[in-house]
Symmetry: C2
Subunit: 348 residues, 2 copies
């Protein structure tokens, strides 16, 4: 285990927001970005947490991400809107887009808001869960840099293209699916490579499309195995079309990784809100979903394990960490303190 220190979520949130404000962001925008990073930390998804701030600031400083123009709607037609992020933070665009989708769905029952020219938006469930506050189902997806090969090919052209879907319930623990189209995250394969360990079959393919247990073969020109093979590859393609082709953003494979400083990342997202009240009474819906959830919780488990609904482990962790604090690895503390020094702000 890495050495970690516990920090209150407010402390980390204010630290991140402080850096962003010092770098020129408006207070509201800085708050949204900080909230998304803390949301990931609270829910145990540290790959999308505060460690990202360092990369975000590097992008901003190098001018491959820009806050100069700000977001603007290119289209608003009925239940549909298209937001141009003008290369600012994905969180600023995503927060506006999801809230707009919720507003539109109050009138029309359903809404889709696309975002173009955006950047990494952090943890997808941060946005899908915004819909819950208005008794809506939130659906969010983004494309990401190439990692998965279109089925039958050896070239990783498609991203892992995550999707998050949040569903309101009556018992306090919303159902929140948040998943990518790859069997495992690339981070897990990198971790095995670092430790010199083999990876299980079914995680990665080598540069010729063969299954491999050597993590280096995956990382060096290989690709991640999509869930269900041809099915996950197909879903990843659809996500790419919705997030990038439909938003007139860029073509498949052109979106850059967050660490690629050669230019704007050209990330696209799609946000959808479904107003439960348009279909069924919200209380009835919440109660029925909770009944389904309770039924699943009561089913016989594999080997007497505890059964968890999508998002339940993350919810439980969030409750715990809100009380007890967020454990931060020493190397992440050092990274953040380096930022603090650079921006003449107090260290953690």
């Amino acid at each position: 285990m890495e050495e970690t220190t516990l920090y209150k979520s407010e402390v980390l949130r204010n630290f991140c927001a402080g850096i962003l404000i010092k770098a020129g962001l408006k207070e509201d925008d800085a708050g949204v970005i900080a909230d998304s990073l803390i949301c990931a930390e609270l829910r145990g998804v540290k790959s999308h947490g505060i460690v990202r701030l360092s990369t975000y600031m590097e992008r901003l400083e190098k001018g491959v991400l820009s806050i100069d123009k700000g977001i603007e709607f290119e289209r608003k037609n009925g239940a549909v809107a298209l937001l141009n992020a003008n290369n600012t933070f994905g969180q600023i665009a995503g927060y506006k887009a999801m809230n707009t989708a919720v507003d539109i769905a109050k009138t029309y029952g359903v809404a889709m808001v696309g975002v173009k020219n955006s950047n990494h938006f952090g943890i997808a469930s941060y946005y899908s869960m915004i819909a819950l506050e208005s008794d809506m189902i939130g659906i969010v997806t983004t494309h990401s840099s190439p990692a998965i090969a279109p089925y039958g090919t050896v070239v990783p052209l498609l991203g892992t293209n995550p999707i998050s879907i949040a569903v309101p319930v009556s018992n306090g623990k919303p159902i929140v699916l948040d998943m990518s189209m790859s069997t495992v995250a690339r981070g897990k394969i990198r971790y095995s490579a670092l430790k010199g360990e083999e990876i299980p079959e079914g995680w990665g393919l080598d540069s010729e499309g063969n299954q491999t247990t050597d993590p280096d073969e995956v990382l060096d020109g290989g690709s991640l195995v999509p869930i269900g093979g041809v099915k996950g590859s197909g879903l990843a393609l659809i996500v790419d079309i919705l997030c990038s082709v439909l938003t007139n953003n860029c073509l498949t494979g052109e979106v850059k990784n967050i660490t690629d400083m050669s230019g704007p990342s050209r990330t696209g997202h799609m946000f959808c809100a479904v107003n439960v009240a348009s279909f069924i009474g919200t209380d009835l819906f919440r109660n029925n979903v909770s009944q389904v959830a309770n039924q699943i919780k009561s089913l016989d488990a594999v080997k007497d394990n505890t059964v968890y609904l999508p998002g339940e482990i993350e919810y439980n962790l969030e409750e715990k960490r809100k009380k007890e604090g967020i454990p931060v690895e020493q190397k992440v503390v050092e990274l953040l303190n380096g930022l603090a020094n650079r921006y003449n702000l107090p260290t953690l």
Copy 2:
């Protein structure tokens, strides 16, 4: 190989429609049901083809499916509608719902139409492809009888819950994803059981949730492996919530298999249309999707295989079978001729 006879698609279509009309269906409705069965045959999905007519007629004759009341909209709010199928054929409800979604999306840019109290609707892509004619993306999903265990449990409560997404292109071959949330169809496992053969690892689980290569252990109280494990199980749950809880149809696990004659199947579906023109010019969209498709087709293939986009194999087969005819196994011909005799109609 089974012995097969080639029939022109029109011959089979008119045969099926004839039986349905004789059984009391309106000509238009009979045509839609027949079209969906022939669509499946043309695209090589014979599990959803003309072999189903026999089961449909049995349901109708036994009164567990009824054409008496007909479909009716319970709600129409902005871009959302809810259709009560009143236990008639899934195809009749599905065709109306998808066309309604397309009509609504012409005004609002996006539409969602739910269907409750329905029945088996055949091949999902029959509906998603309706959207293509209006330059829209069609998204269709249905829940189905229990087959997949919620992750961590040993009880198959969730259906295979297929989803189909159709995307317009400029080069004539639309991208049409049509997939279930299980790694393989239950039919494949039944086939292995019949032949006394083992199944590969990763297809099925036994009644205690362990991987098994014995097809009988899967069919006897076991469950199908969802794509990506916890991910496919989560997606199947979401599909169930959208198709059945949101439509106020029935709770998860209550939908009956098409062969279960103990009562109405209580199937729910969800239909969504996305009007491309609300986001981007339709020609630009079609051209960009086709450019993506061409790029994927030109990628280096695994072991020099041909690369196919989602729906391409089915499209090619459809073109071929429209010209050359549909091969029908002798036992299916006999099944259909039995129906013809029962309804005093000419045999095939």
